[in-house]
């Protein structure tokens, strides 16, 4: 089970020699830019064209050098599977001498069951923004997201299910509407923000006073898709989303008396008025409204919204999701803030955003495809270390000349701490033993690749179920307030107290068999012990200064060796280096 522990001699020379020497500014970008400017780019893979667009805007300015393998392995695990690599996984990658090992790792992670879990977390936070509410149980909603990403369900299909949801047959996607209380103004605001990248709330009562593009008709265009919908409660108190066949939209401006719209028809941002069938008043329903009956109109405006938003022709819909996936990988939206897409807040790279949006739609809204291309870019794979002499202006986040620091989400932080301390591995071992013993699942143990894959998924699901409570505690401690986007980083004294004195992290640092502390302290040779510790927690080896410092800490008092390991492990886990994806 336990492969040989790391020691310097086992590592490739290039790795062992790597120190914090100043990386040179990669003037190669200049050359690339010249090439890019000179040659047509069509036909190149998307990731190459992304880099060309970024280089073009950098106009020969310096960029950080390529990330080291240690930086890369930690980053890609966090972004694609939501946790740091285990010690063994990190070692395996660092020892791999093959040329295309980064691309191979990206592909492998995208196919792992943990990728679906990571996407479940990303889209849960994106779409529900830590709201509680119990119209649809959180677990059902999360399972729905997990299943969707396991199948790599096209994003437009997922969005269509959510936007059309009524909670009758496919219940989980109705959480978006039902746990927001179904109020058409709130739904207009959040559909605008989360599916079209436009926070139109201010255009409810008048044209937006600060944003020239955000006019009232933009708001009421979306509103008209939703205002006939309402929450229907049946006799057992269960809620559903329902819709009437009537309900016209009228609005005035509180500023401009000339604005007086009546019977305003639904339209998407940037789209034309949607054609609607007409029915006689007594012929408008499949199920007519009555007491305790959920009405079903023959023509549903909400269904129509789901259809026209997601059919690939809405530039605004496509841009929004491309921008949000870019943000997930790069740490900053091309449009930033993510929900303020308008002409006074243009994208940092307008053509790039359009290209991503078009290519993503053309791929069939294939989330894996886009994330893979983003991960393959040099832009993504740059180091977060500032090259010496780089100015603040050159390093400005919207230039993507240096990799940005991304604070770990509560889920990433919990999973990574459990990975580093050995909690996850312990769960994996015990859950796989259970699965392997289960007679019903015995045939899964055949080595057939498909079955192995199924077994891996079962193990992942069992491990997740076992540690979900821990993750929930981290969400309570590190998540945003319900309904607030989880984007800006804030550190609180309570979080620090939670790690300093709380039982959870200190408990994970116990010396029980198989734990990180156990594994490290069993290493007699101090250098090897210290290397194991660094590789397990920070996914890298210590440099010379760190090695000396850590060995000294470890050997100061031979009678307190376990305590020294626990203290150092705690310090690495609570360091800034661990708290950020860098």
């Amino acid at each position: 089970m336990h492969p040989s522990l790391p020691s310097r001699s086992l590592l490739p020379a290039s790795l062992a020699c790597r120190r914090l020497s100043a990386p040179r500014i990669a003037w190669a970008a200049v050359a690339l830019w010249l090439v890019a400017a000179a040659s047509a780019t069509a036909g190149e893979p998307l990731h190459v064209r992304i880099d060309q667009a970024i280089s073009k805007a950098l106009a020969g300015q310096p960029v950080a050098e390529r990330s080291s393998d240690e930086e890369f392995v930690r980053r890609i695990y966090l972004d694609l599977v939501g946790r740091i690599p285990s010690l063994d996984e990190a070692q395996e990658f660092l020892h791999d001498g093959s040329e295309n090992k980064r691309a191979a790792l990206i592909d492998r992670l995208l196919e792992s069951p943990e990728f679906a879990r990571r996407m479940q977390h990303v889209f849960d936070v994106m779409l529900m923004e830590r709201r509680s509410g119990n119209a649809v149980p959180e677990d059902e909603w999360r399972q729905y997201l997990y299943d969707s990403f396991t199948k790599n369900k096209p994003f437009n299909e997922l969005a269509r299910e959510i936007l059309a949801a009524d909670g009758v047959e496919n219940r989980p996607p109705a959480r978006f509407y039902l746990d927001r209380g179904g109020d058409p103004d709130i739904l207009t605001r959040d559909v605008g923000r989360l599916f079209f990248g436009m926070d139109l709330q201010c255009a409810q009562c008048h044209d937006h006073p600060l944003i020239g593009d955000y006019h009232q008709p933009l708001y009421y265009g979306i509103y008209a898709f939703l205002n006939r919908s309402f929450v229907f409660t049946d006799e057992s108190k269960k809620t559903f989303f329902a819709e009437k066949a009537e309900g016209e939209v009228a609005f005035k401006s509180v500023f401009d008396p000339s604005v007086d719209e009546k019977d305003f028809k639904p339209r998407l941002p940037g789209g034309a008025v949607v054609e609607e069938p007409t029915f006689a008043k007594d012929d408008a329903y499949i199920v007519a409204p009555a007491k305790n009956v959920r009405p079903v109109p023959k023509y549903s405006r909400r269904q129509k919204l789901a259809e026209v938003a997601t059919d690939g022709t809405s530039r605004q819909f496509n841009r929004n999701i491309a921008n949000r996936l870019w943000y997930v990988m790069m740490g900053r939206g091309l449009i930033h803030p993510l929900d303020l897409d308008h002409s006074d807040n243009p994208p940092s790279h307008p053509e790039l955003l359009d290209m991503l949006a078009e290519e993503f739609a053309a791929s069939g809204f294939d989330v894996k495809f886009l994330l893979r291309e983003l991960a393959l870019t040099e832009t993504y794979q740059r180091s977060s270390l500032l090259p010496e002499g780089m100015t603040d202006e050159q390093a400005a986040p919207e230039r993507y000349a240096v990799a940005l620091l991304k604070p770990l989400s509560p889920e990433q932080l919990a999973m990574s701490m459990m990975e580093a301390t050995g909690v996850l591995q312990r769960e994996r071992n015990s859950q796989s033993a259970k699965i392997d013993k289960d007679p019903k699942l015995k045939d899964l143990l055949e080595t057939d690749a498909k079955r192995q894959q199924l077994r891996a998924a079962l193990v992942e699901q069992a491990v997740y179920a076992a540690v979900k409570g821990n993750i929930q505690q981290f969400i309570g401690m590190f998540g945003s307030a319900p309904g607030e986007p989880e984007q800006d980083f804030q550190a609180t004294v309570h979080q620090a107290l939670f790690f300093n004195n709380g039982g959870m992290l200190n408990g994970w640092l116990s010396a029980q068999a198989g734990s990180l502390v156990d594994r490290v302290q069993k290493q007699q040779e101090p250098q090897a012990a210290v290397e194991t510790l660094y590789l397990a927690v920070l996914s890298r080896l210590p440099d010379d200064t760190e090695r000396t410092e850590a060995v000294e800490y470890l050997t100061r008092d031979p009678s307190a060796r376990t305590a020294a390991v626990q203290q150092m492990a705690w310090a690495l886990l609570t360091s800034s280096e661990f708290r950020f994806n860098h």
Binding site: R180, G181, D183, D185, I186, R189, D190, Q201, C202, A203, Q204, C205, H206, P209, L210, F251, S253, V254, F255, P337, L340, L385, L386, V402, L405, M477, G479, S480, A481, P482, G483, E484, D488, F489, Q490, A491, T492, V493, H494, Q495, A496, L497, N500, N501, G502, N506, E546, E549, Y553, A563, Q567, W570, A571, L572, T574, S575, S576, E577, R579, H582
Partner: protein, 426 residues
């Protein structure tokens, strides 16, 4: 068309200010958070203003407290008594408080038009009416952000009583740093005690090691976020060192006795200790005034506990020189109906009710507004939660017409459609 919520979240008044080139965001005259100041921390501490809110849950009756109407059809059985301010009378249920009236002010003309507990509380605590799907920060979070100096390790917004924990919803878009911390039954904050298994020495050593790892990491990276993270641990260490702030057993037995040997008394004493040690905002609750039945008996009982403790709290704050820099507000989610129901109760009533204030920044002995003879409506200087919110902030030297910046957008600190009650301010 009637605005449901948007106009108030991002009001055109502020928008126009911005169009005219008005300053959005806080200048150096406003607040201490994040602003480099040449003043020493001790000087800042001496100047620091505080707020103490005493929330009488359920809705205290204005007729049995600040606006009695004896001998009317609505007045109930209690008399009005004179106070230390000639001409001001309050209910006889508050004999001790009456002697502190020269440190207080009353607002008798509140009309919030809100008779729902939850919504009324939101009005009074955030200065705005509830907006579905949108949360404004609590007064305490605003105070925590604008009044707390960075060097203070204690949370800026503390609620005393209730379940132990951090309530992020209170801070809304200001972020978790300004969330309220609830000290359940007056206990110190969660996780503020180092576990026995880790000695002080070991804790110091591992934190020292952590600092070195973090410093090395930040050396070559853009550091604003890493700095905030590192600082949170320093704050945690300082908070742990000052854990005695939360321990009222360190107060003399005579002081403890004067505050009262009951939960409300202990909570008020803890509140005073917290203010004394630099906490910007403290909220203490007292339950329960929701007297649909037997209003008069319940008010005798509840106010009997409130009165002596509150009066001594004001005296104690004054004696320690804290009252001049602490705004004290006694509020509820609403008042109670003038009409007495058949169960001798009074029901929810947001249309004509009162609150009391004391201390910092207000005209002592002032009475603002008036209700009619039997208290069924406001007849002079009608105000609501919005005016009050402005007034609290003005009283502690803040400018409520400024805006926070959220995602690059201005969010007015207080409802821009109204302003402070100027004649109440000192």
């Amino acid at each position: 068309m009637k605005c449901q919520y948007a106009c108030q979240t991002m009001d055109h008044v502020i928008a126009r200010r911005t169009f005219l080139g008005g300053l959005v965001g806080f200048g150096s005259a406003m607040g201490l958070a994040g602003i480099a100041s040449p003043l020493a921390a001790s000087q800042l501490a001496a100047q620091q203003k505080h707020m103490l809110v005493i929330f009488l849950h359920g809705g205290v009756s204005q007729l049995e407290t600040w606006d009695p109407k004896p001998k009317t059809d609505t007045g109930g059985p209690f008399r009005a008594i004179s106070t230390s301010v000639p001409g001001i009378q309050i209910s006889e249920l508050l004999p001790h408080t009456a002697k502190q009236m020269h440190r207080m002010a009353l607002i008798r003309s509140i009309n919030t038009k809100e008779n729902d507990h939850g919504k009324g509380r939101i009005c009074m605590e955030t200065g705005r009416r509830e907006m579905p799907g949108f949360t404004y920060p609590h007064l305490g979070a605003v105070a925590a952000k604008l009044l707390t100096h960075e060097s203070n390790p204690l949370p800026g917004f503390i609620r005393v009583g209730g379940g132990n924990g951090v309530n992020k919803k209170d801070a809304a878009y200001l972020g978790p740093q300004y969330a309220s911390v609830t000290l359940g039954d007056g206990k110190p904050p969660a996780n503020s005690l180092r576990p026995d298994s880790i000695s002080a020495l070991a804790d110091a050593a591992r934190n020292d090691f952590r600092r070195r790892v973090s410093d090395r990491f930040a050396l070559r990276r853009r550091a604003a976020e890493t700095e905030a993270y590192v600082q949170s641990y320093e704050q945690a260490q300082r908070l742990m060192e000052r854990r005695d702030v939360f321990d009222i057993s360190l107060e003399s037995p005579s002081i403890q006795e004067k505050y009262g040997n009951h939960e409300f008394g202990r909570h008020c004493l803890l509140a005073r200790r917290l203010i004394e040690h630099g906490v910007s905002f403290v909220q203490v609750g007292h339950s329960n005034y929701d007297t649909h039945y037997e209003n008069f008996n319940f008010h005798i009982e509840q106010l009997g506990e409130f009165d002596a403790t509150f009066a001594f709290l004001l005296q104690d704050l004054h004696d320690r020189g804290l009252l001049e820099k602490t705004l004290v507000v006694v509020m509820s989610e609403f008042g109670r109906t003038p009409k007495i129901n058949e169960r001798y109760g009074r029901d929810h009533w947001g249309s004509a009710w009162s609150i009391a204030m004391a201390g910092c920044g207000i005209q002592h002995g002032a009475v603002i507004g008036k209700t009619n003879d039997n208290g069924t409506q406001v007849v002079d200087r009608e105000v609501h939660h919005g005016h009050l919110f402005h007034t609290y902030l003005r009283a502690v030297g803040l400018d409520p017409t400024e805006s926070f910046t959220l995602n690059g957008r201005p969010m007015p600190v207080a409802d821009p459609a109204v302003s402070a009650i100027k004649e109440l301010l000192a």
